[in-house]
Every structure is written in structure tokens, then in C-alpha cells.
């Protein structure tokens, strides 16, 4: 028969635009800098569970791209993950593992465990040999208790009672190292996390804006978005901003009316299955 055989759709990355990109670069195009989360992210284990914290600044080179970016990502109802590094990478990898965890929950009929999320993340990141720039603080509470892990872009992991990542990690770690102890209460844990994030916000240029906190305990998760707002706009004009007509100079005017190109037929055939 003269029928063209259908090629099966190829998966994977399409390299079609790579030569075009090379040509554009040669002609002097400036590639847009990718949005990074300069970031301070922290986590600590307290007596009833885990507290995660993050700042909310997303940067594109020297510019603040987003002043209130959510860095604490949902993985499972009992597991959350803070992400530092390239924003696209952290979003994509946490979304992907979150979906995989949900499918796993349906298959097993059980609540997800933190080590499952950890293994999925570390094997994905290792196979990309560090090119997926995602540094994560993963925390949660499952049947085996509270867990806190850090995951590095090359795929190595650490299990710790308190952890910090991102450009502001040194500032936040200094707060943890001086004030952390075992058996903190919930209020003490949240206060310590907020203090550590503030240290990152005020001392690191890549971190700023507000503090997000997430508290995960047995059976209950509280996502405290914008728990602290230590950087309000200091001056807001009381008169407000008005834009008077005539302030912008009009150079030329052209009016084109919209022509309908499609004729609508009244009373066509009824929809059939």
C-alpha cells in the first residue's frame, strides 16, 4: 500500500534551535540572565516536627525579579521542600518529584515518606551531574518521625538536625550554631528560623524581602506565608499616583476596524459523538 508509516514520536530534548541560538550569540545577542534565587533557606528539627524557612527574593543578575517569590514548595501533604539555585530548576524538580510521590501514594495506599522524596531527588540530580542547579532543604514528618535533609546539585545528601542553604547560608548558620539546641518548642523553633532568615535577608545581597515559614508536625502542616515582613515600603505618596490625559505626547493616530473573516452559520448540525 502507498501509506506513509508514522514515525513514533521521539521523546527527549529537541536540539533544533541550537544552531539558531549560536547564530544569535555570534550576532551579538545578550542572553537573558536566568532567574536565580540568591536565597537563604533553612530547616530545623524541633521536639514535635520540622520547621522550614525561606526568604522571598528572586534575582535576575543584579535586578530583583520578584519581591515575593515562594521558595517553599509542596512535595506531599506532610513533606515540603525549600529550593535555592536556579528558580526554574528548583520549581521543575520539586514539581516532578511531587507528582511522582502522588502516583506512588496511589500505588501503595500509604502516606509518603521523606526518604522516598530524598531518593527520587538525589537520583535525578546525580544523573544530570550537577547541571540541574537545585540545592534543596527537604523536611517532613512521616510514620518514622521528623526528618530533615539537604540535597546538593551533584546529588549528594546530608541528614542533619538543622541546615541552611543558599547564598545567605553562612549568615543563617551563624544564628543556628549559636542558638540551636535539641528539644526546642514550636514557638522557639519558629522564632529561631525567622531570626536565621532575617540574618540572611539583612546580611546577604542575594536574599531579601519577607520571611516564609512552614511548620510540619504529626498530622498537621502549617504554611505561614509572609510570616514576617521586615522590609515594608517606607514611603508611599499619600496623594496617590494620577496619570492626567494629555501628559503623553501623541505622535500619530491610525484606526483600523476589526473585519470579521469568518461567517457564522446559523443552526448548523447538532454535535454528534
Amino acid at each position: 500500500m502507498g501509506r506513509m508509516t508514522e514515525l513514533p514520536t521521539k521523546g527527549g530534548f529537541s536540539f533544533d534551535l541550537c544552531t539558531r541560538n549560536d547564530m544569535l550569540l555570534k550576532n551579538g545577542l545578550q542572553m537573558p540572565p536566568f532567574r536565580k534565587t540568591g536565597t537563604t533557606i533553612v530547616g530545623l528539627v524541633f521536639q514535635d516536627g520540622v520547621v522550614l524557612g525561606a526568604d522571598t527574593r528572586a534575582t535576575e543578575g543584579p535586578i530583583v525579579a520578584d519581591k515575593n517569590f515562594e521558595k517553599i514548595h509542596f512535595m506531599a501533604p506532610n513533606i515540603y521542600c525549600c529550593g535555592a539555585g536556579t528558580a526554574a530548576d528548583t520549581e521543575a524538580v520539586t514539581d516532578m518529584v511531587s507528582s511522582q510521590l502522588q502516583l506512588h501514594r496511589y500505588a501503595t495506599g500509604r502516606e509518603s515518606r521523606v526518604v522516598t522524596a530524598l531518593t527520587l531527588l538525589k537520583s535525578h540530580l546525580f544523573s544530570y551531574q550537577g547541571h540541574v542547579s537545585a540545592a534543596l532543604v527537604l523536611g517532613g514528618f512521616d510514620v518514622t518521625g521528623p526528618h530533615l535533609h539537604t540535597v546538593y546539585p551533584h546529588g549528594s545528601t546530608d541528614t542533619l538536625p538543622f541546615a541552611t542553604m543558599g547564598s545567605g547560608s553562612l549568615a543563617a548558620m551563624s544564628v543556628f550554631e549559636s542558638k540551636y539546641r535539641e528539644g526546642l518548642t514550636r514557638e522557639e523553633g519558629i522564632e529561631l528560623v525567622a531570626e536565621a532568615i532575617c540574618a540572611g535577608i539583612f546580611n546577604d545581597l542575594g536574599s531579601g524581602s519577607n520571611v516564609d515559614v512552614c511548620v510540619i508536625t504529626e498530622g498537621k502542616t502549617e504554611y505561614l506565608r509572609n510570616y514576617q515582613l521586615p522590609n515594608p515600603r517606607t514611603y508611599i505618596s499619600s496623594k496617590g499616583y494620577t496619570f492626567v490625559k494629555g501628559q503623553t505626547e501623541v505622535l500619530s493616530t491610525k484606526i483600523t476596524s476589526i473585519q470579521p473573516k469568518v461567517e457564522a452559520v446559523e443552526g448548523g448540525d447538532a454535535m454528534e459523538e
Binding site: 536540539f15 536556579t86 544523573s127 551531574q129 550537577g130 546529588g155 546530608d158 549559636s178 539546641r181
Partner: protein
């Protein structure tokens, strides 16, 4: 990024069964059955690791992304393994560094492969963690199929196969140590490149440079358990005093016929060497009301 595919030129049909029968191999109990199992695991791990990694890296080497990433997470490290009359003692420091920053000051570099075999990891943290995970998985299957605990030699050879086959992509220097009923306590060194060498004692990591002379002088055959443990702790603390990439606490694992014992030596219990001072007016002591208990793993 250099072409990382040249490690895959090995012909899988050229499996050398001989590699499991090294010099000194005298136990008649190591049947051909267990050898062939090991060979099939060898093929499995070759395909598993190399194909997956190879394909991904092929794609990445075509589309090179020049990202300025922070330094890979590596274990600067001092790792030590010694045999004594009755088993082995493995020891390590606890510092994991990312460039000049200490990412984890209390990490555990001695990882379990099976009940009776442990491995000390040095080099890239990601690479050694993945190797340990693969080998733990293979050994678990091997133990089920064999019907008895795996021997240290098989465990060490599985590590060595992964290390050698992927030598262009991995940065992993490990010491495998354990106890089995055929050969007793054994230490196998698997440094960068994938050599395997059985030794009465072995040192590795960046801090080991400072210990070669020490061990030449202090090592003796047929020590007791206490002597071996003291030797390991003393050596680790000497290396930690001189090597910037090693530090923190000393962890040891003893493996013998009775089982496995883990010990922890906090920084304040370690001896002070030349020019090291006692901490005075430490803010850590002044600020906290009580000395916190070390975390239990």
C-alpha cells in the same frame, strides 16, 4: 567538560571470571555458582550505570551549558581501616566541605553495605553515595541468591567494578572493610581509578598524606581490639590537626564475629597535639546553659 564517554569502551563479553580468583584465594567454598552470580551482577551494573549516565552525558556534552555552579560537595577527609586479631576497625573524620565552607561538620562517612561489610567514603560525596547505594542493592540481591552472608571480597569487587568501569566520571576513593567466616577480618582499598588491593591496614583521603610515616612506625601485626581502636582514633586526630579539609568528630566502626559496634569521639575527647590549645572562654560554653548531648544517629 571533557568527553566522558571513553570509559564505555569495555566489551562486556570480556568478563574476566579470573578477577574473583585473586592471588591468595584458597577457600574451596567459593563455588563457581557465586562467581557466576557476581559476573551477572557485574554485567547488570555495567549496563545500568553506564547506559543511563552515558546517554545523559552524551546529550549534555552536545549542548554545553556554561553554568557557574558552586564547587561540588566533596569529602576532604581522613579515612582509615585496620585489621586486628578478630576483625577490623574502620575510622573516619566528619567534615564535608563545599569549596572553603564546611557543609556538614558531623557527617557519617562510614556507610553500611551489608550487616558485616562497611565502607569508608572519600572524594566526591555524590559519587560515593551513589556507588554505596548501588552496591548495597546488588549485595542484597546477592545475599538472597547465595543464601548466606556476602563475603567482603565480593563487596569490595562490586565497588571496584563500578569504580573502574566509570573511572572517567567518578571521583571516589574508598576503603571496604568487614568480617566473614572464611577469611575473617579483611580490608580492601579501592582508590581513584578502580584498583583493588587487600591490605592489613589502609588510609585514604586528603588527610592520609600526614599518616604514612605514622603508620609505618606505629602499625604492628595482631593487635588487640583496644589497641587497634586507639591507633585509629590517634591517627585520625593527628590528621585532623594538620589537614584543613578534615575535622569535626571521629567515628569508628568495629566489625568482628560478634557483630558491629559504632563509636563516637567528640572533639573535646580527642588529644591535643603540638601547638593546639585548650579552648578557654569559649562562647559556646558561656552562652549555652548546659552542654548539649551529642545527637544519636
Amino acid at each position: 567538560m571533557e568527553n566522558k564517554l571513553s570509559g564505555f569502551g569495555l566489551d562486556p563479553t570480556g568478563v574476566e571470571r579470573r578477577t574473583f580468583l585473586e592471588e591468595g584465594e584458597s577457600s574451596p567454598k567459593q563455588s563457581l555458582y557465586s562467581l557466576s552470580l557476581s559476573a551477572s551482577l557485574y554485567l547488570a551494573c555495567f549496563h545500568l550505570l553506564s547506559l543511563k549516565l552515558g546517554f545523559i552525558l552524551l546529550l549534555l556534552s552536545i549542548y554545553k551549558m556554561d553554568l557557574d555552579l558552586s564547587a561540588p560537595h566533596s569529602t576532604g577527609t581522613t579515612i582509615i581501616g585496620v585489621t586486628y586479631n578478630g576483625g577490623v576497625v574502620l575510622g573516619a573524620d566528619s567534615r564535608t566541605s563545599t569549596g572553603m565552607y564546611v557543609a556538614n561538620r558531623a557527617s557519617d562517612k562510614i556507610t553500611e553495605l551489608t550487616d558485616n561489610v562497611y565502607v569508608c567514603r572519600s572524594g566526591s560525596a555524590a559519587d560515593t553515595q551513589v556507588i554505596s547505594d548501588y552496591v548495597r542493592y546488588f549485595l542484597h540481591q546477592h545475599t538472597i541468591q547465595l543464601g548466606q552472608p556476602a563475603t567482603v571480597k565480593v563487596a569490595a569487587n562490586l565497588v571496584r567494578l563500578l569504580s573502574y568501569q566509570n573511572k572517567n566520571m567518578l571521583q571516589a576513593g574508598v576503603i571496604v572493610g568487614g568480617w566473614d567466616k572464611y577469611e575473617g577480618g579483611q580490608i580492601y582499598s579501592v582508590p581513584l581509578g578502580g584498583t583493588i588491593l587487600r591490605q592489613p591496614f589502609s588510609i585514604g583521603g586528603s588527610g592520609s598524606s600526614y599518616l604514612y610515616g605514622f603508620f609505618d612506625q606505629a602499625w604492628k601485626e595482631d593487635m588487640t581490639h583496644e589497641e587497634a581502636e586507639q591507633l585509629v582514633v590517634k591517627a585520625a586526630s593527628l590528621a585532623m590537626a594538620r589537614d584543613g579539609a578534615s575535622g569535626g568528630v571521629v567515628r569508628t566502626v568495629t566489625i568482628n564475629a560478634e557483630g558491629v559496634t559504632r563509636k563516637f569521639y567528640g572533639g573535646d575527647t580527642l588529644p591535643l597535639w603540638h601547638d593546639e590549645l585548650e579552648p578557654t572562654n569559649s562562647l559556646l560554653d558561656l552562652l549555652s546553659s548546659s552542654v548539649p548531648e551529642p545527637m544519636s544517629t
